[in-house]
């Protein structure tokens, strides 16, 4: 199962972190730090795989992908195929965030969560077809947009009343 998905920038700041087993905040930060510590010491042109036993317990693997200023990191156990997971990062994120930059992620934080929820579900891969993922995400944004436009008027009214 996939234990965690993280997006960390090259400064070590998390931009997205989702853990599929509950962990306390301190533990999460510690893991993010140690993952970053390992990643930033790796050279270019080496494999995308790491053993993460020392960070995440026995039998955990870590697959990462370096895009511009961001590391996309998946942590999982031996029940998953490494290359397939790597492929998952590449295939979907390539399409969803073509030429992605860090600011996009910061400003589209909620969108990123939505997309991630369409890809990974409770530690299991939900969907691998980027077309399907994009379809689901677009559906959600449409819903959001439509309900926002409706609420716009009453919201201001209710805001007035409250004052």
């Amino acid at each position: 199962m996939i234990k965690a998905v993280m997006v960390i920038n090259t400064q070590g700041k998390p931009r997205l972190a989702k853990f599929y087993d509950f962990l306390t905040v301190d533990k999460q930060q510690e893991l993010i730090r140690s993952v970053f510590g390992v990643l930033c010491s790796r050279a270019e042109n080496v494999s995308n795989f790491m053993e993460a036993d020392s960070i995440f317990g026995p039998d955990s693997r870590l697959v990462y992908k370096h895009y511009a200023t961001l590391y996309f990191v998946f942590v999982f156990d031996t029940c998953e195929n490494e290359l397939a997971v790597l492929d998952l990062i590449q295939e979907t994120l390539d399409k969803c965030f073509r030429n992605v930059c860090e600011l996009d992620i910061v400003f589209n934080y909620s969108k990123l969560h939505t997309i991630l929820d369409e890809i990974v579900f409770g530690g299991q891969v939900l969907e691998t077809s980027s077309a399907e993922i994009m379809k689901a995400v677009e559906e959600i944004s449409k819903l959001e947009a439509s309900s926002n436009s409706i609420t716009l008027v009453p919201k201001t009214v209710s805001g007035w009343r409250n004052r």
Binding site: V46, E51, D59, S110, V125, S129
Partner: protein, 1000 residues
């Protein structure tokens, strides 16, 4: 940045206090999640997040679900508030809401969700009217719930449904269902046989690219992820019997093996190879024909030489797995040169894989080459790997040494090159070998002497050479530069450079050199005596003691020759190094296919000197070659033991201190222990004391409740760890290890619900041969009804069996159930009696009671026998907060604020049993700040027996804190005097009315 973060937190906090529009609420809850990710513990907006779940509009609901699933854990109380809304969303008609709810349930996956929602989720999954979007989520949601609570999937009813799901056309749903199948099959493959042909069908469909929509085709590869998952699922079935099925599967596999090539496009490469590597794993699992296997090895050999690092990595890894397959080792060996090159890869991940592979493929034929390669690499290896490297080199050298002198060479080189990374175990082992092999002794001593000539040597080298020369330098006496005096001088040169842990070894060496110098050399004698004199006032007790004793002994002259004679041979045993290398099995819920397989195949590489209990007949020693140690009759050790063991002046007493029946676990004890004086024989060996006396030091004669005495060990197998401590730990928690010895581990996992308990015993065979005549009998006390399911008579090698045990509590009592467990290993019959942690406090449920509820209750339970009071003395002094923690751990809820006196504690709990049903218990503890060793305890409940038992139980806990060490550190004043007679608990009471007045 940090300040900014805090400011935002405060801002949000303020905003949340006021009434907000849904839109603003949504905005701030998102911000909260962001801040949470940055590492701020947001413990305030949880309620807001949860309340958004029930918002009618999609955007609010969405943020509510997403944020709740990130912030809260499965046991959070707020989740209970939401459970109804979640359920309504799941069974409702709105698909987007269904998706949101499923996502949250799947991400949190709590027990309570599992119980209340699993049925609805199943319905969604098999419903034909739902869209694939919902159904695939339902599949994974069910998987998550199943992980939390396997009972949610009823195997009988589900198998057919599962098989039907695999006929699904939609690839998305099929992928999710396949993941679900993998989890189900990994736990119970037998039930799902009918799914096997379906998996093969799915693979065929994918391989032929039939009916695969374009969006699931990735660079021309039909849904690689689904292919991988399907092959993964197949690896959980032991074999495929149906010949047709097997044939068509092999056709598919052959196609994958042949049709994949390394191409330019990275993405295509990854996807194709993901499938390929999974196919390789499946081929290995199925024990395909030899032809196909060698084809696989050839492919892997190609991969470990390609440029793409990911593929090199996986190639090496899979080659390591390939070692498990019989008959291919030779074809793997052909790639040895390439693998050794990979040791120098720039990527540490790849280097580690290469090291693992080299370690795994090493045998007698290539050990020399590989170990020499490793030694060479050691000097350039980076620090992160040196320790592992040196350990592996040492183990290989020991296991596959063509001759022993080579082994000594390797270890000495190892210490020379990477002294910092050579653990003590390694040099202890070499000393053992040399001591046990007379032919080797002159050689080893000469080698050690050579290393001492080097200008700067590592301290470990000083230790080992000093030890070897002290023992065997007299064998070299005729050689040039090896006279006792010269040896003494060269060793003594190192003395100023070493730490205090090495000095005792050097002192022993001096004493031995002196003894071996015949006729005595007065000059040398004086020199050494001066050194002894100097260290007689050393601050380190060990050094001082040795100096004094050696001095006294050496003055006695020839009379003490025996004491300083060479060490006798060490009892033969399994190498501590090899033991260290055997990875501890972790029982994970999700067993990986590879691991299962590794367990089935008895480790063909490890455990060479398979030495078990020393007094049993040695098991047939596998053909290890020259390394098998000379077996020492254990009686010889014993004889010396008794003759010399008496005298106090036996500082250099021989190794005989080791009880021949209990091969000590650590080598350090063997090697250094005998040099120092040990306690009287036998004192240290029997850790198992009478359990009765350990329960709080309350003597059983006075203690009314019969605590079942736990039997002594009638056998030679020593438990690992303290059984009592394990028991006490399990009294406080619900899962852990109950018992462990070198052959078996008994774990326990318990769930307690009111008066019912559901325990599972995990019996794990740690060995590579089966355990026979396994018997487990539960001896329940009168108040517990226990039912243990059938325990198999044989536990296969490296397997774990689970035996559920149902418990029903009839009435309050402190009696403890005992598990009478026995098994046979080889000729050893082992029998242990273990207390089961089905104790009184497991049937308690903490409950908080407000002042309005507490006082009427307290008053209505006016006196004995419903309310009992006692002054307890001899309490282990504890700060009040710690005592409160202790109570909490026994599931007594501390109710702060009920008692105005800060020195008092009030606690409440509910006790469940058949006779009492749910019964409220109230407890009040009054401590004396001036004297922490005494306190007054009042216990009240609606049942006289419960009141009494609970009071006695708490007394036991307070008088002896179970986590504290027992034995000599037991409380100084045993509370014998205060223990009330069980027949008349009334006596101990004082006026309850006055107490109550004080409380109010």
């Amino acid at each position: 940045m940090k300040r900014l973060g805090r400011a935002v937190v405060m801002e949000i906090f303020c905003f949340l206090k006021q009434g907000l529009t849904p839109y603003e609420k949504k905005k701030y809850v998102w911000k909260m999640l962001y801040i949470y990710m940055l590492g701020y513990d947001v413990d305030f907006g949880h309620m807001e997040a949860v309340s958004l779940i029930s918002a009618p509009k999609y955007p609010e609901k969405q943020v509510g679900y997403i944020v709740t699933s990130s912030l809260l854990n499965e046991n959070h109380d707020f989740l209970r508030l939401a459970i109804n809304t979640v359920r309504n969303d799941i069974i409702g008609r709105n698909e987007t809401f269904q998706c949101l709810a499923l996502t949250m349930v799947g991400n949190i996956g709590g027990r309570e969700f599992a119980e209340s929602l699993a049925a609805d989720v199943q319905k969604l999954l098999i419903s034909s009217s739902c869209r694939p979007l919902v159904r695939k989520k339902a599949a994974l949601c069910l998987l998550r719930l199943y992980r939390k609570n396997p009972d949610v999937v009823n195997i009988d009813g589900w198998v057919d449904r599962m098989a039907q799901l695999l006929d699904e056309r939609d690839i998305g749903v099929l992928t999710s269902s396949m993941s679900l199948l993998v989890a189900l099959v990994s736990n119970n493959h037998e039930a799902y046989w009918s799914c096997l042909p379906k998996c093969v069908k799915v693979l065929e469909r994918l391989a032929r690219n039939q009916d695969i929509p374009q969006e699931y085709t990735y660079y021309g590869i039909p849904s690689p992820w689904l292919q991988v998952k399907a092959m993964r699922a197949l690896q959980y079935f032991p074999t495929i019997e149906d010949p047709n099925c097997r044939r068509s599967l092999f056709e598919v596999l052959q196609r994958i093996l042949m049709g994949t090539d390394v191409v330019k496009n990275v993405n295509k490469n990854n996807a194709a190879h993901a499938v390929l590597f999974e196919a390789l794993a499946l081929v290995m699992h199925l024990d395909a024909e030899k032809e196909m296997m060698s084809q696989c090895v050839a492919l892997l050999g190609k991969f470990i030489a390609v440029r793409e690092p990911n593929i090199r990595y996986l190639g090496l890894e899979n080659m390591t797995r390939m070692l498990m397959v019989t008959d291919v080792q030779d074809s793997i060996k052909r790639h040895q040169a390439q693998i050794i090159t990979s040791l120098k890869d720039p990527d540490i991940s790849i280097r580690r894989r290469a090291l693992d592979l080299l370690y795994g493929m090493c045998d007698i034929s290539n050990a020399k080459d590989i170990v020499e390669e490793l030694l060479q690499y050691l000097s350039t290896a980076d620090f992160a790997m040196r320790e592992e490297l040196s350990l592996k080199a040492a183990i290989l050298a020991e296991k596959f040494a063509p001759d022993l002198s080579w082994y000594v060479d390797v270890i000495l080189q190892l210490i020379d090159k990477a002294g910092d990374f050579v653990s003590d175990d390694i040099w202890f082992r070499v000393v053992q070998f040399v001591t046990n092999n007379e032919d080797l002794q002159p050689y080893a001593a000469a080698k050690a002497r050579e290393y001492l000539d080097k200008p700067a040597i590592h301290e470990t080298m000083v230790k080992v050479s000093a030890y070897l020369l002290g023992e065997f330098s007299h064998l070299l006496a005729r050689r040039p530069g090896c006279s006792p005096k010269e040896i003494f001088i060269i060793i003594h040169e190192k003395l100023p450079t070493v730490s205090t842990s090495t000095i005792p070894i050097l002192l022993s060496t001096y004493a031995k050199i002196l003894m071996h110098t015949q006729p005595p050399d007065p000059e040398l004698q004086n020199q050494i005596w001066t050194i002894f004199n100097k260290y007689e006032s050393c601050i380190d007790a060990e050094i001082q003691q040795r100096a004094v004793e050696y001095f006294a002994l050496s003055r006695k002259g020839a009379a003490v020759m025996d004491i300083l004679a060479e060490m006798p041979k060490f009892p033969e045993r399994q190498s501590a190094l090899i033991k260290k290398a055997e990875v501890a099995e972790v029982d994970s819920a999700d067993q990986s296919a590879i691991k299962l397989r590794a367990q089935q195949q008895t480790s063909n590489a490890l455990v060479v000197t398979d030495q078990h209990s020393a007094n049993g007949p040695p098991p047939t020693v596998p053909a290890v070659g020259p390394l098998t140690l000379v077996k020492v009759p254990s009686t010889s050790g014993n004889a010396e033991h008794t003759s010399e063991g008496q005298a106090l002046t036996q500082p250099n007493g021989t190794l005989t201190k080791i009880d021949p029946q209990t091969p000590s676990e650590d080598l350090l004890g063997d090697l250094l222990g005998p040099l120092a004086i040990e306690g009287p024989p036998g004192a240290a060996v029997q850790p198992q004391q009478n359990a009765v006396s350990e329960v709080g030091g309350v003597p059983s004669a006075v203690d009314g409740a019969a605590i079942v005495p736990v039997g002594e060990y009638s056998n030679s197998v020593q438990p690992i760890g303290n059984i009592n401590e394990r028991f006490y730990a399990l009294c406080l928690k619900d899962s852990g290890v109950l018992y462990e010895d070198p052959y078996i581990q008994i774990g326990i996992k318990a769930e307690w619900r009111a008066q019912h308990g559901h325990l599972v015993l995990f019996l794990g065979n740690k060995n590579t041969s089966p355990l026979d005549s396994v018997q487990a009998l539960v001896l329940p006390p009168a108040h517990l009804k226990m039912e243990l399911s059938l325990v198999p008579e044989t536990i296969p090698p490296r397997a774990q069996v689970q035996c559920p045990l149902e418990v029903l509590n009839l009435r309050p009592s402190r009696d403890v159930a005992v598990l009478d467990f026995s098994y046979k290993f080889g000729a050893n019959m082992v029998n242990v009696k273990l207390r089961l942690p089905a104790v009184l406090n497991k049937f308690l449920q903490p409950i908080s009671v407000s002042a309005e509820e507490f006082f009427p209750q307290w008053r209505s339970l006016s006196g004995p026998p419903l309310k009992l009071q006692e002054v307890v003395r001899g309490v282990r002094p504890l700060p009040l907060t710690e005592m409160a923690n202790l109570f909490n751990s026994f599931r007594l809820m501390i109710c702060p604020g009920l008692d105005p006196n800060p020195n008092n504690l009030v606690a409440s709990t509910t006790f469940y049993s058949e006779s009492t049903r749910a019964m409220l218990c109230l407890i009040r503890i009054e401590t004396d700040p001036a004297d922490r060793t005494q306190l007054r305890m009042t216990v009240a409940s609606g049942d006289p027996m419960l009141t009494f038992e609970l009071k006695e139980f708490m007394k036991e806990q307070l008088v002896s804190i179970p986590t504290a060490p027992h034995g000599p550190t037991a409380p100084p004043t045993p509370p014998v005097a205060q223990v009330a007679q069980p027949t008349s608990p009334v006596k101990a009471l004082t006026d309850p009315g006055a107490m109550l007045a004080g409380l109010l």
